[in-house]
């Protein structure tokens, strides 16, 4: 578990432990890479890229006893999430409507693809025109500001290289509360579709997600996770745009998780202690210099 999340969100750790997991803060003393990093920077708060490196090292050095299970980015993970969109297709049918726009938050791309890809299938195969809108944090804007290039999936350069919109494998994110959205890259299929114009994306600031999250909680009764609050921001912006234009737009968004483990973040928001983080352009540019040199066979 990324150290900053391990510290910010102890109840998530305890939940995992309840289900039988051993949970370690990354960077940890348990891998060569983690030890080397801690020697260099003992106060490192970690990143998803570093945690992936440690997990990959643990699997690769286990003599086949351990495997690496990841929560996003790769095709099979996205595919498993399509159960969400397959259900939503049937449910929209029950409602007698079809979405004009599907909205989801994105970090690695799995929950967004899970709801959006089944609707994309109807765009591609049956000429439907549903817009697919991915919403990411301004603090980790891989799709909207990252470079579409081959890059490592992890910081230690042990994981496979894929072509994706990337902020660079050395990316260390600002400590925004949407921990699930702090990855440097993005699912390759989603990036290719975004690059070709089949998917839209926008980046929103942290404070701009807590305000609609609170409005959603007060109207609908559900307290959303900071990640899902990005989708709510996107859905509300669509609804306000529809209001301005006077159209009965049908908006479908994925509420990917509740925020019961994120109450400290809500408390900080109410106390006026949260801030926005704009990812600096200099860092976007610097990441380019560190991309792997890839020569593809003709």
């Amino acid at each position: 578990m990324v150290k900053v999340s391990y510290q910010q969100k102890p109840y998530r750790r305890i939940l995992m432990e309840t289900y039988g997991a051993d949970v370690y803060a990354s960077p940890s003393e348990r891998t060569e890479y983690g030890r080397a990093l801690l020697e260099q920077s003992p106060d490192s708060t970690g990143s998803l890229g570093i945690a992936i490196s440690e997990a990959v090292e643990a699997a690769a050095s286990s003599g086949g006893k351990k495997k690496y299970s990841l929560g996003s980015v790769l095709g099979h993970v996205l595919m498993h999430q399509t159960v969400i969109g397959e259900e939503a297709l049937m449910q929209m049918d029950l409602a007698g409507e079809y979405p004009d726009v599907v909205v989801g938050c994105i970090g690695g791309g799995s929950n967004f693809s899970g709801i959006a890809y089944p609707f994309l299938r109807y765009n591609l195969k049956e000429g439907k025109k549903t817009r697919l809108l991915a919403v990411e944090p301004e603090a980790a804007p891989s799709l909207t500001r990252g470079t579409f290039a081959f890059d490592y999936g992890d910081t230690a350069k042990m994981a496979p290289i894929v072509k994706m919109h990337t902020l660079g494998h050395g990316f260390v994110p600002a400590p925004i509360h949407a921990g699930g959205l702090r990855y440097h890259g993005m699912a390759p299929s989603l990036c290719a579709l975004y690059d070709a114009g089949y998917i839209e994306a926008k980046a929103v600031p942290q404070l701009g997600t807590f305000e609609p999250a609170v409005q959603f909680a007060r109207t609908e009764g559900i307290l959303p996770a900071p990640e899902s609050a990005h989708a709510i921001r996107g859905a509300i912006d669509e609804a306000l745009d529809a209001k301005e234009k006077g159209d009965e737009r049908v908006i479908l968004f994925n509420l990917s998780g509740h925020g019961h483990f994120d109450l400290a973040a809500y408390e900080a928001y109410f106390a006026g202690e949260l801030q926005d983080y704009q990812y600096p352009q200099a860092d976007v540019d610097a990441a380019l210099a560190d991309l792997p040199e890839v020569k593809l066979p003709a």
Binding site: G64, E97, A242
Partner: protein
């Protein structure tokens, strides 16, 4: 006008297949490269990290892949999840849009 808020499926509606975008990608896929050699990875390399079944799913171009019964049994503990129309949010925003 209907005022229904919850749209719920039953256990028998639980999807039996996942949708695989690989089958319908309108743009050609890019290779996945080995971090050391920069050459396209082989299933053998990936098998150090991932179970072979997941690797086969990763490279499959079948449009749908059956969800194993063991997984569907676990899904049944909490799926299908409900679809809700956010009518109270629509009202608060004063929007003619329908938010689900």
């Amino acid at each position: 006008m209907s005022t229904q808020t919850r749209f719920t499926l039953t256990e028998k509606d639980l999807p039996k297949r996942w949708y695989n975008i690989n089958a319908d990608m309108p743009v050609p896929p890019n290779p996945v490269l080995h971090p050391g050699t920069m050459e396209p990875v082989t299933p053998d390399f990936l098998s150090v990290l991932f179970p072979m079944e997941l690797i086969m799913q990763e490279i499959s171009t079948d449009q749908f892949i059956d969800i194993p019964e063991e997984i569907r049994d676990v899904y049944k503990l909490f799926r299908p999840t409900p679809l809700l129309r956010a009518r109270r949010l629509e009202q608060a925003l004063g929007t003619p849009a329908h938010i689900y």
